[in-house]
């Protein structure tokens, strides 16, 4: 007699923590968040922009913990693809321009970039959408529609 079929397992969520920050405390918090979001079985990718601050011993412990459990701690901040993108950034001008996918390489899924006041967007692929959050009359309904259509990355 065969065992009853088990229900299909839900897809594993991928969560990216992108660290692009010059404040050591914020970097340490981003690493703490990266460990935090791993607690319910998600696959975590951490991508650190060169030039970001050193998060200190706590960040090193978090990095070691995540690596020990098989999470990626060396992602590319310009090409990260995930269901959830937490972008820890301080508004420093992004060093990169638009990043098109190389010919022959499948594009990552589109992302909606939400750009706060005084900030600039960095890596934008051809299919991405960019919305400004910097004006006083933000159309949040429009932003909500965009969020519904694609993962959001806040700059």
């Amino acid at each position: 007699m065969s065992a009853p079929a088990s229900p299909a397992a839900p897809p594993v969520l991928t969560i990216a923590i992108v660290i692009d920050h010059r404040d050591p405390a914020a970097v340490a918090e981003a690493w703490r968040a990266a460990v935090g979001v791993s607690l319910r079985g998600a696959r975590v990718i951490v991508a650190v922009r060169p030039g970001s601050a050193d998060g200190g011993a706590a960040a090193q412990r978090a990095q070691a913990t995540l690596a020990l459990f098989g999470h990626a701690v060396d992602g590319d901040p310009d090409r990260v693809a995930a269901d959830v993108i937490e972008h820890w950034c301080d508004g420093a001008p992004p060093a990169r321009g638009p990043v098109p996918s190389p010919l022959g390489e499948p594009s990552r899924a589109p992302v909606v970039h939400l750009v706060r006041a005084g900030r600039a967007v960095g890596a934008v692929a051809a299919d991405d959408r960019v919305l400004q959050l910097g004006t006083a009359d933000v159309d949040f309904a429009q932003v909500l529609d965009a969020i519904a259509a694609a993962p959001a990355r806040v700059w």
Partner: protein, 101 residues
């Protein structure tokens, strides 16, 4: 989209969180907010905005570690005292997550 998760880790982005939450309410999209780092300071600095979120039926959770470090009493604000596990739970619960960090 039925469930929207909002992560707040900055001092200045609470108005954006509130704007999205209001738009979501109008669409009957459930909202859960998780605040950490400077985000808990933002909640403490805007109790009326926090009360509006809670009154609208949104769940607002603050990281106890961040609150303790800042000397902030989350429960007095009507905010659920939580942990990074709530951060992970929000990501698993939501159809979409927007992080202001």
């Amino acid at each position: 989209m039925r469930r929207l998760g909002l992560v707040l880790a900055t001092a200045e982005d609470l108005p954006l969180v509130c704007g999205l939450a209001r738009a979501a309410l109008a669409r009957r999209v459930a909202v859960r907010v998780f605040a950490m780092h400077h985000g808990v300071r933002a909640l403490a600095g805007a109790p009326a905005a926090v009360a509006a979120l809670v009154d609208d039926g949104h769940e607002v959770i603050g990281c106890a570690t961040s609150a303790d470090a800042a000397g902030i009493e989350l429960a007095a604000l009507g905010v659920v005292v939580g942990s990074q596990d709530d951060h992970a739970a929000l990501c698993a619960w939501a159809d979409r997550v927007v992080a202001f960090a």
